[in-house]
Amino acid sequence: MTLSPANEALAAEIISWFPRPRSALIPLLHLAQEQDGYLTDDAMRRVGGLVGATPAEVKGTAGFYEMFRFEPVGTYLVNVCTNISCLLWGGEELLEHACESLEVEVGGTTDDGMFTVEEAECVAACTEAPCLQVNYRYRGRVTPDDFDRLIEDLRAGRTGIAGHGVLARVRQSIPAERLAGVVPPEQAREAPVWLDRNDVEVAS
């Protein structure tokens, strides 16, 4: 599926904030992933069309970034950190427990399509080791029991965590009358007006 009309409008708005459309590529891919849970070929083609990149350039760029998926993952992507600080507090054991309890290999998805378990690198919650993220929302100092309860809560829809692809639930929006105006690099520009204050100071 390509972008929905609502997302087309959002995409146009996001593109308008950047001096060059290509800068909107990653935000727009996130938008597409939020819409479908992963990046479909159609959506990537459309995003490429919007920012002036070929399908190959879009996929080549998206493939560099771990968060972009080209195939569906579970509704909940569970990233267990095993990097150094988490390693010291049982991150590996937590990952093992997660796999056993959900009966998947690392990287695998449960048969019901609910959960994908992955080994994550440091997610910046090192004092809360071992930690994990569910669709990039944190849980810290997670015991095996905590983990099982979390899975129950997720199954029961008690966490408020949205499906894979959703990141921030608030979007930036800039009222047209408040916009200072994008500043394209191509235009040879004068110094901005407020820097004139320096000259006034020197003169006085």
């Binding site: 998206a62 970034y65 390693l87 010291l88 910046a124 009222p175 105006g181 500043v183 006034v200």
Partner: protein
């Protein structure tokens, strides 16, 4: 404090942050559960630094930052005022890119600053833009930090609405847009030229140097200032209180405060705002006001003083102050304010392997010594851990390291061998590859016997079995 009291210094709404005694220049609002709202920000002195800046000239603001010797908090520790001075005159437009791609293992302070006090960061961006004539700001948040993205988006919306961002800020002639961008999972994007590539919609691979500084050639080829989140978060306080007041905290060469994330085998691991340059590792790790020592029944074995990229330190380094120069001379770096404490239960080889594995996974693949070398290091360490190590593997590890980072690698003194000061040399464009060598050289010098024990533990294959196997 709102609603709940801190338990042992921890605050429920800001997990990890420890609210202890001591000056709080950038974390002062963390105690409030609504610290990320404009209402709270304005009620606690918010945007007064911007107003103070607007009442003076841009050059005065720059002078103030220079006078405060505000050191960059991203890892390299370069003075922000000096970096700002690299902008070539007259080559407008200039851009500001905020590096919120915090991913260094052990590091988290920018995330808290973005989640708990986004307006402070926004105000810092505005002050920098005003001082330098930067005409558009891009605030790049790490992809995995959904809450930080949410809080910054909400804060920007509030700030635009209230007239702090956008056209004619606070009714003045100062106008600048701040646009949030966000990544999608790549550690290397924290390198400033890789960040710019990512912001241009490409694979986040570091650019060839020279030019060394984006201040000369940056976003879209224009002069660009790339500053870390924490660096910018210092500006509002500095504008309200002045450089002189700022310099009353910390040491002469490292003024102010700094956030340190101290994790690992501690009684009270946490993120602390600490006086820069004067507090020692000893105080931070063992002090009652800070981490309160190693967990019960155990002793310190080693620690990483400055994030996953830093060579490792040991008990004899505890008296060093949290200051770049002495830490560098002793063979490591203060880096990104991430200290990882490992007690006597820690397997040095395994810990080294895990850090190396990170760099192998995150290598962007642009430079051969890093792409191949980090992978080799990881595989050799893994086979040693799996009991398949070969006696030549230790030398092979060091040789691989030498290909990524030639010459003596920074390392702490040990057994009559002198310290090699920071930084390492590199055969690569960026420091990622050389960073992978740090845990290897640190642990081989110190714990060679642990490597040897794992390698010689292999049961020898009886000669007749080996011969029979060969003849089949």
């Amino acid at each position: 404090m709102d609603q709940q009291m801190a338990v042992n210094g921890y605050i429920a709404h800001a997990p990890g942050y420890v609210h202890n005694d001591g000056p709080k220049l950038i974390t002062s609002r963390f105690v409030h559960d609504d610290s990320f709202t404009l209402a709270r920000y304005e009620a606690t002195g918010g945007y007064e630094g911007l107003r103070a800046a607007l009442e003076t000239t841009p050059a005065t603001v720059h002078d103030e930052v220079r006078a405060a010797t505000l050191l960059g908090r991203g890892g390299a520790g370069f003075p922000a005022g000096v970096k700002w001075g690299f902008l070539p005159p007259g080559k407008h437009p200039y851009y500001l890119v905020v590096n919120g791609d915090e991913s260094e293992p052990g590091t988290y302070k920018d995330r808290l600053l973005m989640e708990r006090d986004p307006h402070q960061l926004i105000e810092g961006c505005l002050i920098a833009c005003y001082a330098l004539g930067l005409q558009q700001c891009f605030l790049y948040v790490r992809g995995e930090m959904a809450v930080a993205q949410e809080r910054i988006a909400a804060a920007l919306n509030e700030a635009y609405e209230a007239g702090y961002v956008g056209r004619d800020i606070c009714g003045s002639d100062f106008s600048v847009d701040i646009v949030m961008a966000w990544g999608a999972g790549a550690y290397i994007v924290g390198e400033e030229t890789a960040l710019i590539e990512s912001l241009e919609g490409r694979r986040g691979m570091p650019r060839l140097k020279p030019p060394y500084f984006p201040a000369a050639v940056g976003l879209y080829g224009q002069p660009t200032i790339v500053n870390n989140v924490e660096t910018l978060a210092n500006l509002p306080w500095m504008m309200v209180n002045g450089a002189e007041a700022y310099c009353r905290y910390g040491s002469e060469s490292s003024p102010g405060t700094r956030m340190f994330a101290v994790s690992g085998h501690l009684r009270r691991p946490g993120v602390y705002e600490v006086e820069h340059g004067v507090t020692t590792f000893q105080e931070l790790i063992y002090g009652d006001n800070f981490c309160q020592g190693i967990r019960d029944g155990h002793e310190l074995k080693m620690f990483i003083p400055g994030g996953g990229s830093a060579p490792w330190f040991f008990a004899e380094h505890l008296d060093l102050p949290l200051e770049a120069r002495p830490v560098g001379a002793a063979g490591s770096m203060l880096g990104s304010g991430a200290i990882v404490i490992m007690d006597d239960t820690t397997d040095a080889v395994k810990a080294a392997w895990r850090v190396v594995k990170f760099f192998a996974r995150e290598s962007c693949g642009k430079c051969t010594p890093c792409r191949e070398g980090t992978t080799w290091l990881e595989q050799i360490l893994r086979r040693i851990l799996d009991g398949d190590g070969r006696p030549s593997d230790i030398d092979l590890l060091l040789d691989m390291g030498d290909n990524i980072s030639p010459g003596p690698y920074p390392v702490a003194a040990h057994n009559g061998q002198e310290a090699v000061p920071f930084p390492p040399r590199q055969t690569t464009i960026c420091p990622l590859g050389p960073s992978a060598v740090a845990p290897v050289v640190s642990t081989v010098r110190r714990f060679r016997h642990e490597y040897e024990a794992k390698i010689t533990r292999r049961d020898p294959i009886p000669i007749e079995v080996a011969v029979a196997g060969a003849s089949q």
